[in-house]
Amino acid sequence: SKYACVFDKSAFNFSHQQRLFRTSAVSRGQIVQFKLSDIGEGITEVTVKEWYIKEGDSVSQFDSICEVQSDKASVTITSRYDGIIRKLHYNLDEIAYVGKPLVDIEIDASKGVAPEEDVVETPAMSHEEHTHQEIKGHKTLATPAVRRLAMENNIKLSEVIGTGKDNRILKEDILNFLAKQTGAILPPSPKAEIIAPLSKSETVPTAPKDKARKIPIPVSRPIVFSGKDKTEPITGFHKAMVKTMSAALKIPHFGYCDEIDLTHLVQLREELKPLAQSRGIKLSFMPFFIKAASLGLLQYPILNASLDESCQNVTYKASHNIGVAMDTEQGLIVPNVKNVQVSSIFEIASELNRLQALGSAGQLGTNDLTGGTFTLSNIGTIGGTYAKAVILPPEVAIGALGKIQVLPRFNGKGEVFKAQIMNVSWSADHRIIDGATMARFSNLWKSYLENPASMLLDLK
């Protein structure tokens, strides 16, 4: 074999599944000074621009160690060894010298030192099926140690799924593969079987461990899961949302839900869609929902109000700035359409198009994101029927719209017909809104949508 690595076979005894294979304990390994190799073009010094590892990290051969820069060239320095980083010889932005130590790596004592010359990834090997280098034009990444393990166990690297960085095949992946091949559990070691019969022929009370050894119950196969919990701080916009939602919690919410028959509205929208398209605007259902809400707010202005901090005064807002909840890259953002009370449905649709384009690019401005007085959340575009929306302070009400479903309903004549049904779930601030007000507003909103022609009578 080309490789000088030495392997301790006992490390691969399968009855000891839990043993760690990295240099986590036991003997102190040998510290090797990994020198900065030749960059080419006669370059003798470079600037260290980024460290990918820190002292104490374990690295595998071919892992990236740092990025250095020299005269417009950015160079990725990769590790030659498996081991633990013990010392970084340079800080960021310091000059590093070719041929001088870059990092100190502690190599696992049982492994020995990898050969000095660069291990080429495509060696001419006789055991070609075990070192299958190219899969559809890819190089299979695996250290020589892993390749040897695969070869010793007659495993084709192409059949193993790599879970390491860049889909690299790790030792754990080979072991997993083997575990799957050999069955649910691995048989107990021969030693155990010899001991068991002795315990039968006695008067000595059987120790619990003997009982356990007698019964190899097939349990679920040992899962070697190497995932780790990940903790991140909550920052920026999310931090602000935490504050908003905590404040919202102080509002006593009550809910009111209903079912709306949108059969007529669906038809109307189909008729109007091409006309809106010819004017360059995409027409969804939202402009109708928003306009109908504004008409309702004209009759029940308390729903478009705001309660002050001390709960002493209610401010009735003159403008209907209706917020539309949007799911963007940043999270749940609520821009609002200003002055719906004096806008036509087409104008509302046009504004929505503009806000949606900005929202999906994550580029909404302050003016669009502030000043809302009432909110609608069309969660139905994703799914769901009923929901319990949280009021966005300083507003006092919010409506969540479920998805439109085709359902059987009875008409006036007692006949079953196909209806387009959507559910709405309102939440309101019970300190100033009572159930009756919410119900009446909802009924009015519902009547406008179920019979869109009636909106014409009240449009301003």
Partner: protein, 373 residues
């Protein structure tokens, strides 16, 4: 051997690339010239990454030809706030990309061609590549007065830069890429590559500004196509290539498995902005509110593109101190990004006292803060 430069392979790529031997291209050795069908800077940079990571260049050398729609490309270790006018770019919809090679900032548009020379690490040789380019250009237009400097620039008439260079070296492979100005928009170029930033302190690689000129200005009969063909022909001659240029679609997963993930990564905020080396901002600005002018002093430390520390010095009591510290607390840890700041400041307003004047002041301050980003 003369390459039929007028004939480019437009065959379905499968017949050129699906050969019994693993790997990309019709032959496993010799030279290969590929040209991108896309003008998307991220997709094209992803192709470079793909070739660098996946192709076996032991016996192969590759030339990659590409052009991009308007974009500013900064080097691996640069600071975009320092290098270009981000606000102007946002207005004009000019993309920002960070490449993996070193070097300075360049402006790309369809009047600029990009050339990438892929070799093994051992055969990395920038001067040779640039000499090839000069040879090709001189063969096309013998009267051109062009030469390569020791900084790997190509100068026209001894003073105007027409090409800049950068390189990336990995464990086994390397690439050297360079630009070539044929007919780029010099007006946009100079306005976007000028940063209005004052008070920025950083160890990021600074760009070295140079006067540029288009080859088109020297000879109006030149087009990008002609330059690409001339260079490809010279490369083909030097590498004894007899097959035509391979056109590739940088979104085709069957030819370039995993390419779309690479393009996506290049577009993430974490890569484009988050890879900026640590820097600090120390600046002041004036705000006009009603009839008074206010001086505001801002100090910020930014690491990984996020605000690590922030201090805003406002005239006393202009804003309630509790609110001011709320803003500072929220900005800490947040992305140094105008949209993120707008989203968080608008959201914070919900839990502030509902006072019109207070809200106007807050919005004014936050808008000025976002202008710094």
């Amino acid at each position: 051997m003369v390459l039929q430069s007028s004939f480019k392979s437009c065959l379905p790529l499968s017949c050129l690339l699906r050969t019994p031997r693993a790997g990309f291209g019709g032959t496993a050795s010799g030279g290969l010239i590929i040209q991108s069908l896309s003008n998307d800077v991220y997709q094209n940079l992803a192709v470079e990454d793909w070739i660098h990571d996946h192709m076996n260049l032991e016996n192969r050398q590759v030339l990659f030809l590409w052009r991009n729609s308007p974009a500013v490309v900064i080097g691996r270790h640069q600071n975009p706030w320092q290098e270009c006018n981000l606000q102007l770019m946002r207005q004009k919809n000019i993309k920002l990309a960070r490449r993996r090679s070193g070097g300075g900032t360049v402006y790309h548009d369809l009047g600029n061609i990009n050339l990438t020379f892929f070799t093994t690490r051992k055969k990395y040789e920038r001067m040779e590549n640039l000499k090839l380019v000069v040879k090709a250009l001189k063969a096309l237009r013998p009267q051109l007065n062009i030469h390569v400097t020791d900084r790997y620039d190509i100068l026209l008439d001894g003073q105007y830069k027409i090409s800049g260079t950068a390189a990336k070296l990995g464990r086994t492979t390397a690439y050297h890429h360079c630009t070539l100005l044929c007919n780029a928009n010099k007006f946009v170029l100079s306005s976007v590559l000028k940063s209005p930033y004052k008070g920025l302190k950083s160890n990021a690689t600074p760009s070295v500004r140079a006067s540029v000129k288009n080859l088109f200005e020297e000879d109006p009969s030149l087009t990008c196509e002609m330059l690409l063909d001339a260079i490809a022909e010279e490369y083909a001659t030097q590498h004894r290539i007899d097959h035509p240029i391979t056109l590739i679609n940088p979104t085709d997963e069957t030819v370039l498995p995993g390419i779309n993930d690479k393009s996506k990564e290049l577009q993430t905020w974490e890569w484009v902005y988050g890879k900026t080396p640590k820097f600090s901002v120390s600046t002041c600005f004036n705000m006009i509110y009603k009839d008074s002018v206010l001086d505001v002093k801002v100090d910020m430390d930014i690491k990984h593109g996020r605000i690590e520390a922030c201090d805003i010095d406002l005239p006393q009591q202009w804003l309630p101190p509790a609110l001011c510290s709320e803003l500072v607390k929220s900005l800490t840890g947040s992305k140094f990004c105008p949209y993120e700041t707008t989203a968080l400041s608008s959201t914070l307003l919900r839990t502030c006292p509902q006072d019109y004047e207070l809200h106007s002041k807050w919005n004014l301050l936050c808008e000025n803060m976002t202008m710094l980003m």
